[in-house]
């Protein structure tokens, strides 16, 4: 009963269950429901092969999320670094022995499971950064010297996923980590310097990119360059979304996706599949659901009484936003095509598990918002 000694008033198990943000859980389930609907339609009106597995996966991840939410943050504080290190090792493993899939090494096969370590790395980075800044005072956080380890924590996975190469994950880790650094109090001039140097490094990055990546960037800049080649995906996706109109073509009546004009319609382009059939009304509805998740995230962060929780909640929220924004902007032709799924809607096990894990952490912050955490480094 060491916990009882630290806490001003002990919180019972029933109280903790009560503190779970059931509204948020409902919204997440609604989003996953949209995913089932869209995957059912993407398979031509069949539960196989995606929709049924998506539902089952959500069920399992749902249990995981609640379990994670009920684990005391001090456990996460202690496990942050081990999780980070394991995820880095997995990233190295995927680079070394990973299976070739979609022109990039992203999967790791362990027994019957295919896991995507880059999805785990996104959460691990947030966890470690929250842990790191939890131990720093405001002055320390603003110092350049203390920023260096944080930069290393971010750039190590970025480098590893760039090798795969997975531009989308690299962008997400970079921006998600950046957001965390920003709220943790890193000086603004450092962001300025980073931004300027990033622009300066563009030519070097360009020369390191694979041909298909260069092509994607070029076609993003001008999709009509090659409407039947690399610009094909963007063009077809825009046609699908645009032809959906205000109210959509109706459930199971999307011509673009049911006729396979859409590439990767069950994963990265699931938003397109959904929007073609449900129109702008459906798209706005889905975006509102995601916005609700973000608002909940912010409010949880603001209400948390410990810095670790604040940072963790905000990091998860930032990740969630990045997922949604990058994916949606990509299928609408606002960003180059990079492999970022739409959380809880796209077909894919690892992404679902890591997103639900992150949501578990977020809800955990809410459940243990008044926990007293040791100020350790």
């Amino acid at each position: 009963m060491s916990l009882a000694l630290d806490a001003p008033a002990p919180v019972g198990f029933a109280e903790r269950i009560w503190r779970i943000n059931w509204g948020l859980v409902l919204v997440l389930t609604a989003i996953a429901g949209v995913g089932v609907l869209a995957l059912y339609s993407a398979a031509g009106g069949r539960f196989e092969p995606w929709a049924s597995r998506h539902a089952v996966r959500y069920g399992a991840a749902f249990v995981l999320m609640l379990t994670v939410a009920l684990i005391h943050p001090k456990v996460w504080l202690a496990l942050a670094w081990p999780i980070y290190i394991v995820s880095m090792l997995l990233l190295v493993a995927v680079d070394v022995i990973g299976k070739i899939g979609m022109g990039a090494q992203r999967w790791l096969v362990i027994g019957p499971m295919q896991i995507q370590p880059s999805e785990i790395a996104k959460v691990a980075v947030i966890l470690v950064l929250a842990r790191y800044y939890h131990g720093l005072s405001k002055e320390q956080a603003s110092r350049f010297l203390y920023t260096l380890p944080a930069l290393l924590v971010i750039l190590a996975p970025v480098a590893l996923v760039m090798v795969q190469p997975d531009l989308g994950t690299a962008m997400m880790v970079l921006m998600g980590g950046g957001a965390l650094l920003f709220v943790a109090g890193v000086r603004l001039w450092m962001f300025l310097v980073a931004g300027v140097s990033a622009v300066a490094c563009l030519p070097i990055a360009w020369s390191l990119m694979h041909d298909y990546q260069k092509k994607r960037v070029l076609t993003f800049l001008d999709p009509d360059r090659d409407p039947l080649g690399a610009g094909y995906h963007i063009t077809q996706s825009k046609i699908a979304i645009g032809s959906g109109g205000l109210f959509g073509k109706g459930f199971l009546k999307g011509t673009q996706s049911s006729l396979n004009f859409l590439p990767e319609k069950q994963t990265d382009f699931i938003f397109t599949t959904f929007v073609e059939e449900w129109g702008m009304v459906g798209a706005f509805g889905l975006l509102v659901l995601f916005a609700l998740v973000l608002i909940w995230g912010f409010s949880i962060a603001f209400r948390c009484q410990h810095h670790f929780g604040r940072l963790l909640a905000l990091g998860v929220t930032a990740l969630m936003f990045l997922y949604v924004f990058i994916n949606a902007a990509m299928v609408m032709g606002l960003l180059p095509v990079v492999g970022v799924p739409l959380p809880l809607v796209s077909n894919g096990g690892t992404a679902m598990v890591s997103v639900m894990f992150a949501c578990g952490l977020l809800i955990g912050v809410s459940v243990y918002r008044d926990a007293q955490l040791p100020w350790t480094r």
Binding site: S137, K138, G245
Partner: protein, 637 residues
């Protein structure tokens, strides 16, 4: 341990400010997404809706079924049979390498096939499918269907392929079809030719009637997915099948001719209706098996066919050129008579040879024929008479008469590969040989030797024009054509030639015919033995016929060789003379003409003659006036 450290308030304050800023940025960006959605789904939705329609609707051509070919009695010569074939489409050639490798595992295609397939997949326009393999068995179809998930864009298609039930017998006339070549496309913009499955006539009637047989393509509007797989049919316009064709050939007679030719290595038989020009028989031996072309001929098979000295690919009836030999004497006689170089009573002497300068021109009969008139000269085939007749008429008049009788130019038959033969003239020799025309050349021309060459068909045309009273009848292979098979029937019988008259003196023609009659039916005739049938029985008068023998020199036997006892029979096969025979019948009311060539058959009367006799007798026996029941039966078929 203190739960809250001093300074957490500061951290929290900064956190809140910056988090709010971040939240603001996120809000703006989400707003941008909403704006983009509005732009795409409200402002530009019309344009995208149109694009989406175009994406999924695809117009596909339906190959028409190719017209069938029958003989004049309605027996099938070329038919279509169901053909299961594996087709492949690829998304603008993407993934073609992998696909071809997988197909190779199933069919063991071989390098050449793989290359062809890869090229066609990459070239295919509008995702039109290309043919992987034809004439699949059930097992192969099953293997494709079983492996379907690994073979995107591959499907089984039920098409039609050409089948030739008579095979070699009709190979030269019917010909065969093959893939459309670039030359075939020249001048034809029929979209159906873009289809991978369509076949184009390459030889024979398949070629000459190509534009009739092909038919018109139908079209089907289908909804397709991105790899071109048809999801559902939206609209369909049926095409028009190709016209069916009734050929003038009588299959039974053709088979009879092939039987007769069997004992000889190589040769040709043509039988014409002298009134209508219908080609009843056009045999050329040996032939080839057209099904080897239908299934795709191999290099080795092709080489074999090309290298064979008997030239099986050649339709010798129209593409084989031979000196006409003595069968040309009717031309010389007519030219001399028409030009009044001789008259019906002119008698010319024959002493066995004729000297021109220091060259000796021999008659085939060593002792000579003595004095003969034109009728006797034809009957006994006296060379000396025709040397002199040719000298008197001159090369110009002979060439002119030969041209009127059909020599030196292609007929209007229309089959590909027909040769014009060579009817020499003064101008021709000056141009091609570079020397002036000599008297000796005229002598040689007079008996159908020297520069003169012709095809068996031309010999039959000449005989027909003499037999029908001087009408410029043209050979004709197509009896009737009609799109629904029910409408296909033979035209009404024709008894008078419709072709223009050659304006020859009927009396002169009658003399030529009399000469030919005497060849067979008079004691002096060179083929007098042919008045009896193969069993030695004299032919029924209603079947009596007239003819003319010919022997075309391949190698000249010199005076010295003759002295050394070298005879035709002792020469190797390819140096022996060609045996020729032309004939018509019935002798008093001619209806059919026949020309026979036995390559290297040595003597016209003994080798070619019996074939001509049997051919003509069989044809006359089957004349509709004798066997009208047969045709009535056919019409109701």
């Amino acid at each position: 341990m203190k739960p809250f450290r001093k300074g957490d308030g500061e951290r929290s304050g900064l956190f809140t400010r910056r988090a709010l800023l971040l939240g603001g940025v996120q809000g703006v960006l989400l707003g941008a997404l909403a704006g983009r959605l509005y732009q795409l789904q409200v402002l530009e939705t019309q344009r995208f809706a149109t694009l989406a329609e175009e994406n999924r609707i695809n117009l596909r051509l339906l190959p028409p079924s190719r017209g069938l070919i029958f003989d004049r009695t309605g027996q099938p010569l070329a038919v279509n049979r169901n053909n299961f074939r594996a087709m492949a489409t690829s998304d603008r050639g993407r993934g073609a390498d992998v696909l071809v490798e997988r197909l190779d595992q199933i069919f063991s295609l071989g390098e050449a096939e793989k290359t062809r397939l890869l090229r066609e997949l990459r070239r295919s326009r509008n995702a039109q499918p290309v043919v992987v393999r034809e004439n699949l068995g059930w097992e192969e179809v099953a293997r494709i269907e079983f492996n379907a998930p690994d073979l995107p864009g591959v499907f089984i298609d039920l098409g039609q392929s050409r089948d030739y039930p008579e095979g070699e017998l009709m190979s030269h006339i019917v010909g065969y079809t093959g893939r459309v070549s670039d030359e075939d496309l020249a001048g034809r913009d029929d979209p159906v030719l873009q289809l991978a499955t369509i076949r184009f006539g390459k030889k024979g009637v398949e070629r000459s009637l190509e534009d009739d047989l092909r038919g018109r393509a139908g079209a089907v509007q289908v909804e397709v997915n991105a790899v071109g797989r048809v999801v559902r049919e939206l609209d369909r316009t049926e095409g028009q099948p190709g016209s069916n064709a009734l050929l003038t050939i009588d299959l039974d007679l053709q088979r009879f001719a092939a039987e007769k030719m069997k004992e000889h290595q190589s040769g040709s038989v043509v039988v014409l209706d002298v009134i209508t020009g219908d080609v009843l028989v056009m045999a050329s031996t040996p032939g080839f098996d057209p099904s080897t072309f239908a299934r795709g001929i191999t290099q080795a098979e092709w080489r074999d066919l090309l290298d064979n000295p008997e030239r099986p690919l050649h339709n010798k009836a129209i593409a084989g050129v031979y000196p006409p030999g003595s069968t040309y004497k009717m031309v010389t006689a007519l030219a001399a008579l028409e030009s009044k170089a001789i008259d019906p009573w002119t008698r010319l002497p024959c002493l066995g040879s004729l000297e021109l300068g220091n060259i000796k021109f021999h008659c085939w009969l060593k002792g000579g024929h003595g004095s003969t008139n034109v009728v006797e000269a034809i009957a006994s085939s006296c060379d000396c008479f025709f040397y002199e007749a040719a000298r008197r008429a001159g090369v110009d008049r002979i060439s002119d008469m030969a041209a009127r009788l059909g020599f030196g130019k292609q007929s209007e038959l229309g089959l590909p590969g027909e040769s014009a033969g060579n009817q020499p003239t003064r101008a021709w020799k000056q141009e091609k040989v570079g020397k002036a025309w000599q008297h000796g050349d005229t002598f040689n021309l007079g008996i159908g030797q020297g520069y003169m060459t012709c095809t068996p068909l031309q010999l039959a045309i000449m005989t027909a024009r003499i037999a029908n009273g001087g009408y410029e009848v043209q050979p004709n292979l197509l009896l009737a054509k009609a799109t629904p098979r029910e409408e296909l029937g033979p035209p009404a019988p024709v008894t008078k030639p419709t072709a223009p008259s050659l304006r020859l003196n009927p009396q002169h023609l009658a003399m030529i015919r009399d000469g030919m009659n005497q060849v067979v039916n008079a004691g002096i005739g060179t083929a007098n033995q042919l008045r009896r049938d193969a069993n030695g029985k004299v032919l029924d008068p209603s079947l009596a016929f007239a003819g003319k023998t010919g022997t075309a020199q391949v190698k000249r036997i010199t005076e010295r060789e003759r002295d050394m006892g070298i005879t035709q029979a002792s020469l190797p096969w390819h140096l022996r003379h060609h045996a020729l025979f032309v004939c018509f019948g019935p002798v008093d009311n001619p209806r059919y003409a026949c020309a026979v060539i036995v390559e290297h058959g040595q003597a016209g009367g003994t080798t070619a003659g019996p074939i001509g006799r049997d051919m003509l007798v069989e044809t006359m026996k089957r004349d509709p006036s004798r066997r009208s029941d047969r045709y009535r039966k056919m019409a109701s078929r």
